[in-house]
């Protein structure tokens, strides 16, 4: 056999290196995965909100999974404004009806999609929310209109459990 040909010894080198590599990766995984959200964090994943005390034009902010969630009882004008915007004007086009279950209730995560600050309500150029951190403007449907944020404020999963109660998560 010429020295160019792989030998049984080469096979052993490659096999043991591969084995050690797989072993090291397997051993590293628990050390990496340990940093992911743990069971107690995941257990906090759902919360119920009573809507009855929130009048038209009022909003509340609650904490869900460590993040603020805005629950806004929209006025008629706000709803009309959100519905009338042509989709072409939106950086992240989405009709208002895809963002709500009932037009008067807007429920969304109050965390700017830029770098996570909490936008201020009923501020900015579009009567919705304004993020002071780097100047993102959102409209009355929480859609991004102007500024560095790449996408609309996120809608959390929620459902109406009764006429006046929702469960988020």
């Amino acid at each position: 056999m010429s020295s160019e040909q792989p030998t049984r010894r080469d096979f052993i080198y490659v096999a043991s290196a591969a084995f050690a590599g797989v072993g090291a990766a397997a051993a590293a995984w628990p050390l990496i995965d340990e940093m992911n959200p743990d069971a107690s964090v995941l257990a906090l994943a759902s919360i119920e909100v009573d809507l009855s005390p929130i009048d038209t034009g009022q909003s509340i902010t609650i904490q869900w999974r460590g993040k603020p969630v805005f629950v806004r009882h929209r006025t008629r004008e706000e709803i009309a404004e959100a519905e009338s915007v042509p989709l072409d004007d939106l950086p992240d086009p989405q009709p208002d009806e895809d963002r709500i279950q009932r037009p008067e209730w807007l429920v969304m995560i109050g965390s700017c999609t830029h770098l996570g600050c909490v936008p201020l309500g009923q501020k900015g150029d579009f009567d919705g929310w304004f993020c002071p951190c780097h100047g993102s403007h959102y409209d009355t449907s929480g859609r991004i209109r102007k500024g560095p944020a790449p996408s609309n404020l996120e809608i959390p999963p929620y459902q109406f459990v009764s006429e006046n109660r929702i469960r988020i998560g």
Binding site: M35, N36, T61, G66, L115, G116, C117, P132
Partner: protein
């Protein structure tokens, strides 16, 4: 060791010293590296910042370990434990103020040290790796200080951590998974604080290790010097590190500590932010988030770019370009003393960096953003256009033939 290679001049004096020298020649290594080490005789005061930086690192480690004995890394308790340090712990106020201002002093020194390197071309062959190891230290310092700033769990801690960790969410596809992995949750919270504390404790010791590599590399090539010329005659052009530079460095360290003490005792909160004395509130963002002063230029660059991912790439690029610097500067001449054009561009670049720092503290709107964009473009043009071009078009000034000759002409003028 190349030109500065000197054979060991250590002679163990006692029987015990001989016994040790045969088994673990640590005293010999210390003597050769920090006492008899031949150091160019013409170093100016800009060369004293290495010593200052070592002192800064030690101060942070000692005060940090003592703080950790009283601090509680839990989101419910962290803020009040820092208040407990300030009010109840004996000298706690002093130790915390030294640690908090020590971080600023550390960065002040490292910036002077880095700009010294830029002015005198300290990154050029054979010191490329020495420079790159230095850049790694700088990156580790920024990571350490960022995580330290989160620990007191005030409003700036919390929202600074939120904004900076969210930078990673701009990575396509895996961004959100990475961010929730960093947080250990769906927002910055207790798991985040806990791991940041563990890493804030660890990283300074990693820095110690990398500093040792830095000094090792330094002692292979030897110190540069203001002329940028290589040492030719060790006996005529160098002096032993001790007592010449131990005394000079010692003097400057005392001066530096005076400045340090001025901040600690007279303006302990000047460089901090009042919002950080408000406990972290995940539902309310302060009106104006600013990072610590030493990160401002990069913050300005981040905000100058109108796209989220683009901003992150450009910001990290601004740091990464420092690693390429040894190959972007095409001039063979090290010192700006003999580079009339580069010398001017050096000062422009310094002003641009200061300007970016100032802009980083302004709100991101209108003229500020436009100015930040212009300066960001200039920042990169300095490295990718000006430096490569200068090497070809610049006509260097006449240079002395050797360090010895420059020393002689200096003593002559002093005698006149």
């Amino acid at each position: 060791m190349s030109e500065n290679n000197h054979s060991s001049s250590y002679t163990p004096r006692s029987a015990l010293a001989k016994w040790i020298d045969k088994r673990l020649p640590l005293p010999r290594a210390l003597h050769d590296n920090f006492s008899s080490f031949p150091t160019p005789a013409n170093l100016n005061f800009w060369w004293t910042f290495g010593g200052i930086l070592t002192v800064c690192l030690l101060i942070q480690i000692v005060t940090g370990i003592v703080l950790a004995m009283h601090y509680t890394p839990n989101s419910e308790l962290a803020f009040s434990s820092v208040q407990h340090i300030m009010r109840d712990v004996n000298y706690g106020w002093l130790i915390r103020y030294v640690h908090a201002n020590g971080s600023s002093m550390f960065f002040l020194a490292v910036y002077i040290h880095i700009f010294r390197g830029l002015y005198y071309g300290s990154y050029k062959a054979p010191r490329e790796l020495l420079w790159m190891v230095g850049v790694v230290i700088y990156l580790l310092m920024m990571a350490t200080a960022f995580m330290g700033y989160v620990l007191p769990w005030g409003q700036m801690s919390f929202w600074g951590a939120t904004v900076i960790t969210n930078l990673f969410s701009s990575i396509p596809l895996v961004g959100d998974a990475i961010v929730s992995w960093l947080w250990g949750g769906f927002a910055v919270g207790n798991p985040t604080l806990n791991r940041f504390f563990a890493l804030h404790y660890l990283l300074p010791f990693v820095i110690v290790g990398v500093v040792l590599l830095h000094v090792w590399s330094l002692h292979v090539s030897g110190n540069g010097n203001p002329t940028g010329l290589d040492v030719k005659k060790v006996d005529k052009e160098t002096v032993p590190f001790h007592p010449y530079y131990t005394v000079k460095d010692g003097f400057v360290i005392v001066m530096f500590l005076l400045l340090f003490a001025y901040f600690v005792f007279f303006h302990p909160n000047l460089l901090g932010h009042p919002d950080n004395y408000i406990e972290a509130n995940p539902l309310v963002t302060p009106a104006h988030i600013v990072p610590e002063w030493y990160l401002l230029p990069f913050y300005a660059i981040l905000r100058a770019v109108p796209s989220k991912l683009g901003g992150v790439i450009v910001m990290f690029g601004a740091l990464g370009v420092l690693l390429l610097l040894p190959w972007l500067d095409t001039s063979k001449i090290r010192s700006a003393k003999f580079r009339p054009l580069y010398r001017q561009f050096f000062f422009i670049f310094l002003l641009v960096c200061l300007g970016l720092g100032w802009l980083g503290a302004q709100p991101a709107e209108g003229g500020y953003v436009i100015a930040a964009r212009l300066l960001t473009v200039y920042y990169f043009a300095h490295f990718f256009v000006i430096l490569p071009a200068l090497g070809y078009i610049e006509k260097p000034k006449p240079m002395p033939a050797s360090i010895e000759e420059s020393l002689e002409s200096k003593t002559k003028t002093e005698k006149l």
